[in-house]
Symmetry: C2
DNA sequence: GTCCTAAATGAAATCGATATCATTTTTAGT
DNA sequence: ACTAAAAATGATATCGATTTCATTTAGGAC
C-alpha cells in the first residue's frame, strides 16, 4: 500500500500523466508503454487513491439511501435493489438508517451538501416535499421511493396505491363484508393518503356508508397496528374486516386478535400491503398486496445514476409500477 | 452550494487558514474573528468539501460492511447495530451485499486498498481467514462478526457456539429424543464447525451414538434447509428431532414437513439458531437460540473505530457474547 | 514607551490524481 | 529525404481543504 501514481510512473519509466491515461482513457497511449505501465501497476499492487480521484473529478461514485429502519424487510429489499443496481454501475451505497427520526434524516441529507455522495434516495415519509424540492433546486440530485413529488426533475418510483387499495377493499366487500376498518400509516404521507383514497372509493362504489369511527392509524409499525386495533375494539362501531396500509401493522392486528380471542378470518378478515416475507409464514397466511420492492430500488437507482451522468434519454422522471392483490387465508372466508 | 473555504475567508475578511481553524481546532482563534467566520459560514451555507478533507486528512470517516444478503434479518440487524454505532461517532457505512458470491466480496475488499473506507467489517463465511490476515498485514483495519481469527489485531465478535449448541441438543435429549439430525451451514465455516462440535458433545455426554447419516448441510439458506430435509427423509436412518445451524434452514425444514405431512413437534422436533423475528410468528413458533445481532454489530463497530483512532484502551480484540436457548412449541413436546 | 513573550493570523506547501497545454516522436505522403 | 499531420508523452496547474512555518499583533512587565 501507500504507492502513488508517481511511484508507478517512476518504475515504468514514464510520467504520471501517462500512468493516469493508461488507467483511464487508455486510448492515447502506445501499446508498448501501456504494457510497461500495467506491469508496474501489477507489481506494485497500485490502487488509485479514492479521495484524490474524487477531488479532481468532483464525483464520489457513491449514492446515499435514507430509510427509517433497515430491519423492516420492506426497506431492506428496496436497499438490496438499489445496491445491486449501483454495483453494476460501479457505484457504492451509503446506508442511512434514521430510526424513524426526522432529525437524523436531515443530518444525513447534509451528505449531499458536502459532496460525500453524488445523489440521494429517500425511502421515508418524514422529510417533506418542500425540503426535497429545496435540495433539488440547490442543484443536488435526489429521488424518492413510495411517493411522487410535484417537480420536473426529482425522480420517483411508487405503486398504484389508489387502485390496489380499492381492489383490496373490493375483495373484502365481495367476501360479504360491510363494516370494514382502515388502519393507516402516517396521516400526511402520500402512501397513506392514496391508500385511504382507494378504501373510500371502494366503499362509495359499493354504496357502503363511510364511518369515521372505523378509521385509525398505526404509523406503519407493528406496535402502532396493535394499538390501533385495540382502540377500534373499544369503540362502539362494529367491524368484520380491516385493511391495513402495510403488513407490519397487520402483524399488530394479529397480536391484538390473539390477545382478545378474536379469530382470523372467522371473526375478522385482514388484508395488508407489502407482501413482506413473513406474511406467507404466519397463521393464517396474510392476504396482502405485492409491492415490487426490489424492482423499485433497481429502477430508482438506475435512473438516478443516469441523471448523474446526464444520460436521461427519456424525459420521464416519475415511475409507477403496478402491484396486485394476493389473497391468502386471512381474508378467504365467505361471510353471509 | 459550490462555496469554497476561500470564499468564506474573503467574506469574513480573514485567511482560509483561519476559517479552517475555526471549523476544526478553534482553540487558537480570537473570539471576535471566530464569530465573524461563523457568521460568514452561516450566511453562505458553507459545507467543507468531503473529498478535499479526506485527501488531506487521509481518512474517510467511513467503514464498509460486507454481508451475503441484506434481506436476511440476521444480517440486517447486525448492519443496524453497526450503522447506529458508526453514526454516533460520525462515521458513515458503505453497505456491500455480495449475493453470496466470493468474487463480489473480494471486489468489495478492494475498497480498503483504494482508501474508500477506513476499515471493513466482514459478516460472511466466504472470505477465508488467510485473505483477511493478508489484508490486515498490509496495514488495513478490519474485523469479523460470527467467527474469530487467529490473529493479534483482527477484531472479532461471536457467540458461544459450542455451548449453546450443546444446550440446544441437550434440551432435545431431555425431551426424550435419541435420534437427532443436524443440518449445518457451510461446512468450512467456524459457525458451522463449532455448532456441530456442540451437537457432538451433547450426544457424547449422553452416550448417544453418533450417526453420520443424520448429518446434512443447507448452506445457511431456506432452500438449503428444505433440500437437506428431503435428503434426510430419503435415507434409512430414522430421526425424531433436528437441530439446524440457523433459523433460515429451519424454515426450510418446516416447508419440507408441510409437504410431506410430517407434524411439528409431534413427529419432528425442530430447534434453530438466530431468533430471527419471523420465528416467533410461524406455527408452531420455533425454538431457537437468541443471537445478539444488534449488539454484535455495535460492539464490532465501536472497537473498529477505536482501533482506527488508536484508542485501543484494552488489548482485547476478541469478543464472545453469551447467547441462550429460547424454547418454543417446535420442540416443546415430551417424547416417551 | 520599550521590550519580551504569547497569541493570532497569513502565505504557501501538501495530500494524490487528472486534464490542459506544450513538446517531442512517429507516421505518412510526395 | 523532407515536410506536414497525427500520435504519444511530459510538465504543470488544478481540485479544496489542512497544516507548518513565518510573521504580525496584542498583552504584560518594567
Amino acid at each position: 500500500m501507500d504507492n502513488k501514481i508517481v511511484d508507478v510512473a517512476k518504475r515504468a519509466g514514464v510520467s504520471a500523466a501517462t500512468v493516469s491515461r493508461v488507467l483511464n482513457d487508455s486510448s492515447l497511449v502506445s501499446e508498448k508503454t501501456k504494457q510497461k505501465v500495467l506491469k508496474a501497476v501489477e507489481e506494485m499492487d497500485y490502487h488509485p487513491h479514492a479521495a484524490a480521484k474524487q477531488l479532481r473529478s468532483q464525483r464520489t461514485m457513491t449514492i446515499g439511501v435514507i430509510v427509517p429502519d433497515i430491519i423492516v424487510s420492506y426497506f431492506s429489499e428496496i436497499i438490496k435493489g438499489i445496491e445491486n443496481a449501483a454495483y453494476a454501475r460501479k457505484y457504492k451505497v451509503i446506508i442511512c438508517d434514521s430510526d424513524n427520526e426526522l432529525e437524523k434524516e436531515m443530518e444525513y441529507l447534509g451528505l449531499l451538501s458536502n459532496r460525500t455522495v453524488d445523489g440521494m434516495i429517500l425511502v421515508t415519509p418524514f422529510v417533506s416535499d418542500d425540503i426535497i424540492k429545496d435540495y433539488s433546486q440547490k442543484g443536488y440530485t435526489l429521488g424518492v421511493i413510495g411517493r411522487a413529488i410535484d417537480d420536473e426533475v426529482i425522480l420517483s418510483c411508487k405503486t398504484n396505491n389508489v387502485q390496489f387499495s380499492e381492489a383490496a377493499v373490493r375483495h373484502l366487500i365481495e367476501q360479504g363484508h360491510k363494516q370494514i376498518a382502515y388502519i393507516g400509516g402516517f396521516s400526511d404521507s402520500m402512501e397513506n393518503y392514496e391508500r385511504m383514497e382507494g378504501y373510500l372509493k371502494a366503499l362509495k362504489d359499493n354504496r357502503i356508508p363511510f364511518k369515521p369511527g372505523l378509521i385509525d392509524s398505526g404509523h406503519f409499525m407493528e406496535s402502532g397496528g396493535y394499538e390501533a386495533t385495540l382502540r377500534l375494539f373499544e369503540r362502539q362501531e362494529p367491524f368484520t374486516a380491516v385493511f391495513t396500509a402495510n403488513d407490519e401493522m397487520a402483524l399488530g392486528v394479529y397480536r391484538a386478535c390473539r390477545e382478545r380471542g378474536v379469530r382470523i378470518p372467522e371473526d375478522l378478515a385482514v388484508v395488508g400491503v407489502d407482501n413482506n416475507r413473513i406474511t406467507g409464514y404466519i397463521v393464517p397466511p396474510l392476504s396482502t398486496v405485492e409491492q415490487p420492492k426490489y424492482e423499485m430500488g433497481v429502477c430508482l437507482a438506475e435512473k438516478l445514476i443516469d441523471q448523474l451522468n446526464d444520460l436521461n434519454a427519456s424525459e420521464q422522471n416519475k415511475y409507477v409500477i403496478e402491484s396486485r392483490l394476493i389473497v391468502r387465508d386471512s381474508s378467504n372466508y365467505l361471510r353471509n
